[in-house]
Subunit: 210 residues, 2 copies
DNA sequence: GCTGCTTAGTAACAAATGTTACACTTCTTA
DNA sequence: TAAGAAGTGTAACATTTGTTACTAAGCAGC
């Protein structure tokens, strides 16, 4: 764990903070599709993502969902930070998009560290900022783009996150993430294929153009 | 200024912090429709809203815009906090929705106060959380609601913020905020009027049902 | 092989939203 | 008061997105 921690955070946190994190943090491995945070959970800590990719999804009362963004290594979940500090409920769902490794930081330390470590203050503020920007990008996407553009952006973004040029997924899964129907996705995917940007296979989409 | 400051923040900040704010903060009055922050601005400070209402708007490259949310008294602009701390550009536009009063807090103090005052830490974290939640609500609205529902929500939300049951606005302005066309808004407003939820006048909409 | 399940393709239609065009009213101001 | 500007109402039509229904291909297990 210390090795991974050093790998991604030694340029972010000073040694004393890394030591503290090693002491009080709990390491956890996540399998692909494992649920990390569910809607309405109260967080007892904050996850630091050491490796992998986490999908953050929003769901409304009717059970309809939409993808908000992905977390990558080095990221933390601002929404659970919120929940942990205020002891409130979490408004999102977090699911491992592939096998991942995280460290859970206990709530009690979060405020102490804000006082003790400038790097922690920077990290927290920066995380919030990154997340706010991510949310704004999501809003741009929803407000300004048509479904075909959203779909193409989804495919290329996800390929980036997964570090693959082809995605193992179904049309139905994509439809859930973009909050539309399978038929619409099939239609638009076929269109993208005709434009030469992707090729379609069963359970797999190859991206030819980024 | 001290009086207004005490009015809304004496339960939020301790006396020492209020004193410091009074010393280093600059008071400013905003006229209705005055521009507070523009897209791409680099913030030299963070505004605390003492009174009034500020509209926060997002704009894409093509100049198309959409309303993100409103700030009320007691609020601060998380996005300018981001910009001030990281010295980056602000991704939003802030316009006074009615006459407002703000205090500008200089960048240099923001980090000091995080160390010195627990109430300031709470305020900053809380502001970010409120803003994240606000953004999620905006996303819900965009992803899950049809235009007629969005319009009705817009009207009632805005009435709440403005503390009025009737709004002085035009169909075109609403269309800008919801990122659609004037014709669509006129059509849906007429529909709401037929349902008995509002009555329409020139430059004015009365809300009958909340 | 056959059987059943999941995934994908596609047509036909429905609903929501966007666009263009024009008429009419109200307000402003020359 | 006449002329123009701004705001509104509405029809007709185009485009985008959603829905239903059905077909067929690929795969797993027997």
């Amino acid at each position: 764990m210390r090795e991974k921690l050093d790998n991604y955070f030694s340029f972010v946190f000073e040694k004393e903070l890394l030591d503290e994190i090693e002491q009080v943090g709990t390491y956890k491995k996540l399998r692909e599709n494992e649920l990390l945070v569910d809607l309405g959970d109260k967080m007892k800590g904050v996850p630091l993502l050491l490796d992998g990719a986490i999908k953050i999804v929003r769901e409304d009362k009717k059970g309809e969902e939409i993808l908000l963004y992905f977390l990558e290594r080095g990221d933390t979940c601002a929404s659970s930070f919120a929940s942990a500090i205020t002891n409130g409920k979490c408004g999102i769902r977090a699911i491992a998009e592939k096998d991942s490794e995280i460290i859970f930081l206990p709530t009690e330390k979060l405020d102490d560290w804000l006082v003790k470590y400038k790097t922690w203050r920077n990290f927290v503020i920066d995380s919030y900022n990154v997340r706010l920007n991510e949310m704004m990008e999501t809003i741009d996407t929803l407000a300004f783009m048509r479904m075909d553009e959203r779909l193409y952006k989804y495919l290329t973004d996800k390929a980036q996150i997964m570090r693959e040029t082809s995605l193992n997924t179904t049309h139905q899964e994509i439809a859930y993430d973009l909050h539309t129907s399978r038929v619409v996705i099939s239609r638009l995917l076929k269109q993208l294929e005709n434009e030469g940007k992707i090729t379609l296979h069963r359970n797999k989409i190859e991206i030819l153009e980024f």
